[in-house]
């Protein structure tokens, strides 16, 4: 829809373009910004013209550009994403959005939007990714994506901060993942997304999203994981309540799907 208050559009080409004037917001590829009225937003600064590489290998793993699109993610060579490739596909399929939007939607945009059902948030938290955040004064800070998303439509990003990239450790790419989701309609917005992996021989890493206002990471022991899982989930206070599922159902589905996912990774 038309954003009636927006009077300016700047296509960013360098970092200094990201210094925002009052009322300006950055816009990425999807673009969710145009799907709802945006009171108070008077200018947009386009991130997709910065020319950031969608991905590159680094000494410690993989760096995904914040403007990497869902399509570019899925088009990465198999050997780059490794064991995470199937997980990336599953997460992309979990979107309620059409491929017609996903091919331009970006990882950074999805994380910054901080919808509980944000499938790229699910993916990046599952991969233990760290967000690289650009501040206005040229500073850079890093924060795990799991901590950056703090609630439904809430992040630690300040108004003048921009997501630059996500660093994925090499070990996460080598891991195997189990993925489960549940929603009120077969292809509707996710009500529960659960991923599980086994980063070390004696630990299981479980991530719950969509069912909770923020992504939840649980470290479970291999022995006795089931009891611990039930205890940890029962202790959560951030079950999400919206049109896509009641909280009691979401909590129960998270427990059920987590049990399946953990059993799957342990069976490997």
């Amino acid at each position: 829809m038309d954003l009636v208050e927006v009077a300016s559009w700047r296509s960013a080409s360098q970092r200094s373009d990201l210094v925002l004037a009052a009322g300006e917001r950055v816009v990425a590829g999807g673009t969710w910004l145009f799907s709802e009225p945006q009171p108070g937003t008077t200018g947009l600064v386009d991130l997709t013209t910065l020319g950031w590489d969608p991905w590159q290998r680094t000494g410690t793993g993989l760096e995904l550009g914040a403007t990497c699109t869902v399509e570019q993610l899925l088009a990465m060579p198999e050997d780059v994403l490794g064991g995470a490739a199937a997980l990336a596909r599953a997460c992309a399929d979990a979107f309620v959005m059409s491929f017609k939007i996903a091919h331009t939607a970006t990882l950074g945009g999805n994380v910054a939007l901080a919808l509980p059902a944000g499938a790229m948030t699910s993916l990046l938290v599952a991969l233990g990714a760290t967000a690289v955040v650009w501040g206005p004064g040229g500073d850079v800070r890093r924060q795990p994506v799991a901590d950056l998303v703090t609630g439904a439509r809430a992040t630690t990003l300040a108004a003048d901060e921009v997501l630059r990239a996500f660093e994925v450790p090499a070990a996460s790419l080598a891991a195997a993942y189990a993925f489960r989701r549940q929603s009120l309609a077969p292809h509707g917005r996710s009500g529960v997304v659960v991923t599980a992996s086994r980063p070390t021989a004696d630990a299981v890493r479980l991530v719950v999203s969509a069912a909770t206002t923020r992504p939840v990471v649980l470290a479970l022991p291999v022995e006795g994981w089931r009891d611990r899982l039930a205890t940890d989930l029962a202790a959560l206070d951030c079950w999400y309540d919206d049109a896509h599922g009641a909280t009691d159902w979401r909590a129960a589905m998270a427990l059920r799907l987590a049990g399946e996912a953990v059993a799957e990774v342990l069976a490997r």
Binding site: W32, D46, D248
Partner: protein, 896 residues
């Protein structure tokens, strides 16, 4: 890692030409503009607005060959690139292969979503226009293309390359799957819907909606808004005629209470219209809304319909006079009520060998027609107020506008172009009133197009109901007593409240032969968004309860659900009785219920169904419903058929086409009566200045009332033509009329086999079958489409769709599900195939033996599904939608 901070500056933007369908698009878009409106601003009206939020795909275009939802693409990003729309893919004379597939499969009904489907499919199809038929792939690739009419089967056929339409015979074509005349225009985006009009010279209206659920406006300062350059008019409660009316439209305006002012100094639900601004463009109008200063004094709020009628409850309309306003009891918030009994229900229940009962609840459902409500008005050269509107009832809107403005109906003309879906929602006057007032005040063309959010927060949806049923029967399951108690939540206004309540309780109860019946029903005001007309008009809600109770009775007695119906349904010679004297103008023009029961029963015995997933429970369920073929108390249509010397035929009929298929049907009727090819027949429709009177397209009357008028007219014309010798020297016309009485009945029986996962509440349909008693089939493909579309809507209401309101502690009842993705409108992957079976009947009152079949298929779906879930889980659902969380909770409660 690389140094992220040091990036080369990007290239300077080059001012390349933007090309749309090969032609250069002049000018620059605004900074906050989306591609959809930029294209429409340049009269690319083939790019539709369904949601404006990226969900429905009606605005899909190809950007450099790739499909995008143009409503969420910043127009700036399209500058210098190639845009292809449905109109650029092909023309009606030279269709793109994908467009040919959609025409051949008739992969549309109203056709509002078609251009977006075509552009999406064009990006995925092979050279022959086929996308394929793998259900999982289609579910994934087309989840961003929503269709409300078809139920998607015909769209799947189009994508697979199957043909459903038949070549028309040399003359006639009644009974043939003749393609809809508009098909090629719809597939190429050429068919003009309501607001597909050039943009120049029209002013735009925006609405301020109430932020309070119940309040008196104490101050409304318009000065700043009026001072904004580009603003032409601000309308408030101070500017509107002092006339109360109803947004609901019926043949008789006294069917609905006069409880609504065009703009009021009291707001009664959050979202109600408070003011309207007319400006040069929508951006200016929207800015002006922010400059309006409104102060409110809150009034107490009541949201629970049970509480609303108790003593001491806040009153919504305490000052209305019951007689002149036709509100049954304003002192109890009761808009309409009926309390009556035949026989002795208490005595019969006490003496019954078997008694079953329960209380059922239905949720809020939105019609969700893909085209939002909209109207454009202007004054013609004679000073007549012309309103082009997305209405199912142009004549009724004309009459009410004349009433409200105190002018003669001759000074108002209402025109409906092809309407982008209605489902009852467009049997309301929701935009035409303010547009008309603005035009009369300004003398300039004015347009109002509702947003998708307003479709949820402002447009009346389906009445939520609480229905309690108690049945008594003998040991063989023969009914001895029926006690039904109904409470409907009509929201802040009583539009359609009496009609929906009475109709909902009528054919649902009258379907059963039972000596002792009692019905108590009340429709009450609350501070919710108003409820209104919705496919089935109340029957779906009450049928859900009664058919669930019947299912329980069959279980108690130990007979099949089919047999319990066979033992109790009305048969010809029976009267139609609810809680008083029987109907006098409702008769059995035909009877196919027995056949429908047999057909579905046999189909449910199929042994070739897919196996359920391990651990899932399987269940079978069915339900029946009856519907009068015409609404009561008069429904009028006049048609004029003209034969021209070149043997071309023009049918002028007032009924509107909104996906119901009447354009095709009227063409077929005229061709058959006159022995001409369907290609020789053209239509002039739904224009109060160009056709005779028509009550309108509601109550499934397009075929049985308007169609009979067409048939009468064509027959009269034939009687004039047959004696003539030699070639015609000039046009010859004849007129026919029909008045909607007496009325017949039609029947539908639905059956499901489902698998339910008790652990998650997920329901999977293994088999869906509906048998319809539609009389003689006018157009098999269209009939099948109407049934499938109704079933899909029924499945949506039963499993997925829900308008969520804030009714919790401290809530003010406002709608929180404001976009389609939060409403869960069924996608292509959510709707299973349905086997459609037809009873072989001929209706004496129908048009050439045909009966209505637009609303009816919806009604038995939810109870059939609920009964199948009951069969699978061993516990009965009492609430719609049977969403996964609700069914899961039902199982938890059962276990604990």
């Amino acid at each position: 890692m690389t140094d992220l901070d040091q990036r080369p500056p990007g290239g300077t933007p080059v001012a390349a030409a933007t090309r749309v369908n090969g032609a250069e698009l002049a000018g620059e878009p605004a900074a906050g503009q989306c591609l959809r409106t930029w294209l429409r601003q340049h009269d690319h009206l083939e790019v539709k607005k369904g949601c404006d939020a990226g969900d429905c795909g009606a605005c899909t275009v190809l950007l450099d060959g790739r499909p995008v939802h143009s409503c969420v693409v910043p127009a700036v990003r399209a500058v210098g690139r190639e845009v292809t729309t449905a109109a650029g893919l092909g023309t009606p004379e030279d269709l793109h292969p994908v467009q040919r597939r959609f025409v051949d499969a008739q992969g549309f009904q109203c056709g509002f979503c078609t251009a977006g489907f075509v552009t999406t499919a064009a990006a995925l199809a092979d050279a022959e226009g086929r996308v394929g038929e793998d259900p999982e792939r289609l579910a994934r690739d087309f989840k961003g293309n929503l269709c409300r009419c078809t139920g998607y089967r015909s769209i799947r056929d189009a994508l697979a390359g199957r043909t459903n339409v038949e070549a028309a015979p040399a003359v006639g074509g009644f009974g043939c799957s003749v393609g809809a005349p508009a098909g090629p225009r719809l597939a190429t985006g050429r068919e003009a819907f309501t607001l597909d009009q050039p943009g120049t010279g029209v002013l735009h209206m925006a609405l301020l909606q109430s932020p309070r659920a119940h309040a008196r406006i104490t101050r409304l300062d318009t000065a700043a808004a009026e001072a904004l350059p580009g603003v032409h008019l601000v309308l408030t409660h101070r500017d509107v005629p002092d006339v109360r009316y109803s947004t609901a439209r019926h043949e008789s305006r006294t069917d609905d209470p006069d409880d609504t002012r065009m703009l009021d100094d009291v707001v009664r639900f959050r979202g109600q219209r408070v003011a309207a601004v007319v400006a040069d463009d929508l951006v200016t109008a929207s800015r002006a809304l922010d400059l309006l200063v409104v102060e409110y004094a809150d009034l107490p709020v009541v949201l629970d319909p049970e509480q609303a009628r108790l003593p001491g409850a806040p009153l919504l309309h305490p000052d209305l006079d019951p007689v002149t306003s036709r509100v049954s009891d304003p002192g109890r918030n009761v808009v309409a009520q009926t309390h009556g009994e035949v026989g002795d229900v208490a005595g019969a229940l006490a003496a019954s060998a078997v008694r079953v009962g329960g209380t059922w609840r239905t949720g809020r459902v939105n019609q969700a027609a893909l085209e939002t409500h909209g109207a454009r008005g202007w004054l013609d050269e004679r000073g007549v107020l012309v309103v082009r509107s997305s209405t199912q009832v142009p004549f009724l809107v004309r009459d009410e506008l004349a009433h409200v403005f105190g002018i003669r109906p001759e000074l108002v003309r209402v025109v409906a172009a092809r309407v982008g879906g209605g489902f009852g929602g467009k049997q309301e006057m929701l935009v035409e009133d303010l547009v008309g007032l603005a035009v009369l005040r300004l003398g300039a063309p004015v347009q109002l197009e509702l947003t998708r959010e307003q479709q949820f927060t402002l447009v009346p949806g389906r009445h939520p109901m609480r229905v309690s049923v108690e049945l008594g029967a003998d040991a063989d399951g023969v009914l001895s007593a029926m006690r039904v108690d109904v409470l409907t939540d009509t929201g802040a206004y009583g539009n359609h409240a009496p009609g929906v309540m009475f109709h909902g309780c009528h054919e649902s109860i009258a379907l059963y032969r039972c000596a002792n019946k009692r019905l108590d029903a009340e429709a009450v005001y609350t501070n919710h968004v108003p409820s209104g007309a919705f496919r089935g008009y109340g029957l779906g809600q009450v049928v859900f309860a009664i058919e669930s109770a019947l299912d329980e009775l069959a279980r108690e007695v130990g007979i099949s659900p089919f047999d319990v119906r066979r033992r109790n349904v009305v048969v010809p010679e029976d009267h139609f009785v609810v809680n008083g004297p029987p109907d006098t103008d409702l008769v059995f023009g035909s009877y196919g219920l027995d056949e429908c029961l047999d057909l579905v029963e046999a189909s449910l015995e199929r042994d070739d169904l897919p196996p359920p997933p391990p651990g899932w429970a399987v269940g079978r369920g069915m339900a029946a419903s009856m519907i009068a073929t015409i609404p009561p108390r008069g429904h009028h249509a006049e048609a004029t058929v003209t034969m021209h010397p070149d043997r071309s035929v023009v049918v002028a009929v007032g009924s509107a086409e909104f996906g119901n298929g009447t354009a095709t049907v009227h063409t077929q009727i005229a061709a058959a009566e006159l022995d001409v090819p369907v290609s020789a027949v053209s239509l002039v429709t739904s224009d109060t200045a160009r056709t005779g009177y028509d009550t309108g397209a509601y109550g499934s009357t397009g075929s049985v009332v308007a169609g009979r008028a067409v048939a009468h007219a064509a027959r009269s014309l034939r009687s004039l033509l047959d004696p003539m010798e030699g070639p015609l020297v000039g046009p010859v016309s004849a007129t026919g009329r029909h008045h909607g009485s007496p009325r017949s009945v039609a029947f539908n029986v639905h059956g499901f086999v489902v698998a339910v996962d008790p652990g998650t509440g997920e329901v999977r349909v293994l088999h869906s079958v509906q048998a319809a008693d539609a009389g003689v089939v006018i157009n098999p493909e269209q009939l099948r489409g109407q049934v499938e579309g109704g079933v899909a809507q029924g499945i949506g209401s039963a499993l997925y769709e829900e308008v969520v309101v804030d009714d919790g502690p401290g809530g003010d009842g406002h709608v929180t599900s404001r976009v389609l993705r939060d409403y869960r409108l069924p996608q292509i992957g959510d709707v299973p195939a349905t086997e459609v079976l037809l009873a072989d009947t001929y209706d004496e009152l129908g048009v050439r033996g045909a009966k209505s079949m637009s609303e009816a298929p919806y009604n038995p779906v939810a109870p059939a599904l609920a009964n199948a879930v009951r069969d699978a889980l061993g516990v009965r659902p009492h609430e719609l939608p049977m969403s996964r969380d609700r069914l899961w909770r039902l199982m938890q409660e059962e276990r604990s």
